[in-house]
């Protein structure tokens, strides 16, 4: 029954398209006309400012998780860097100590940038 209805709708749509083809001027093929309109619309779509839909539907738990990971990752990288520098230069405790604090600072920087919004990561503009 649904199938019959949709087939009927398709038939009426095709008959109306033949009607419009007869009445309008321009390219006779409706597909060509559609392509023309699409190619006109495409650049405009690219230029329009972003709609709000790009922000992810992040929950507060996910957000907290993200901040925590930013803090942790920078701290880990700082510690690893300090440890490596100690191994290369033989400055046993000092590289680790200094880079611990640098890592912590970088973690807070990253957390701050993350808190400014996922859509604007990197540096504040």
């Amino acid at each position: 029954m649904v199938r019959g209805a949709s087939a009927g709708a398709g038939r009426s749509a095709s008959s109306s398209s033949t009607l419009s083809r007869m009445s309008e001027g321009g390219p006779s093929d409706p597909l060509a006309r559609l392509g023309e309109r699409l190619s006109r619309a495409r650049p405009e779509q690219g230029r329009k400012p972003s709609v709000g839909g790009e922000e992810p539907p992040s929950s507060s738990i996910g957000f907290g998780f993200r901040i925590g990971i930013e803090l942790l990752a920078s701290l880990l990288v700082g510690l690893a860097l300090g440890w490596l520098i100690d191994r290369w230069l033989g400055t046993r405790p000092w590289g680790l100590i200094v880079f611990f604090f640098i890592g912590a600072a970088a973690g807070m920087l990253n957390a701050f940038r993350a808190a400014q919004g996922l859509g604007r990561s990197g540096r504040p503009q």
Binding site: P57, F65, I69, G122
Partner: protein, 243 residues
Amino acid sequence: MAGPKSPLEQFTIERLIPLHLGSVDVSYTNSALLMTVAVVLITLLLVGATRRASLVPGRLQSVAELSYEFIAGMVQENIGHEGIEFFPLVFSIFMFVLFGNMLGLIPFGYTFTSQIIVTFALSIFVFALVTLVAFIRHGIHFFSFFFPPGAPVFMAPILVPIEIVSYLSRPVSLSIRLFANMMAGHTMMAVFAGFTITLGVFGFFPIGVNVALYGLEVIVTALQAYVFTILTCLYLRDAIHLH
């Protein structure tokens, strides 16, 4: 880890086809199998959808077109017009991570994105690529990225190391985020599934929780694939536009 079935047991790597290349273990594991499945499924989906492309898309073609439009919009919006040359890369990353996450939700499947080495390999690849692109585009000027514009020069000894560590932490945070989300979700489901047996008659309650968790996990899989992809885009934008 007590008991015969640990909730972490689902993450064990099994060698399906043991292979050794010199002293390196290159066995074909269950993780590798699921990666192959993901790649094959993605290829089948996209090839199948575009082979019989019609003006009014069918179901399969709609899925392919939707994912294409979604990623194309994301690239356009976050990187800009010149970012479209990175579209194949970004699209591949998105589909691979999404399918990896989703395949883990199928019973008896395996989540390869719950292995940190997999996510780290993905993110270190993105990181290396982004750094390379930045070097190619800007040459030596790339190092100005590590000094915030407008900051007093005498702050450089403090700011530059902080910025470098912050930059180097990108692949780490990118990989930990994906891996931790996947692993936490799957562990949680396994823990609740374990409660089902121990609670006996009241086992229906953990089952109910697991049904809800499963729904949540479906969201998380898509969301984490999205987050991984959009961060890739943002890093690429940083590399192209620098400041």
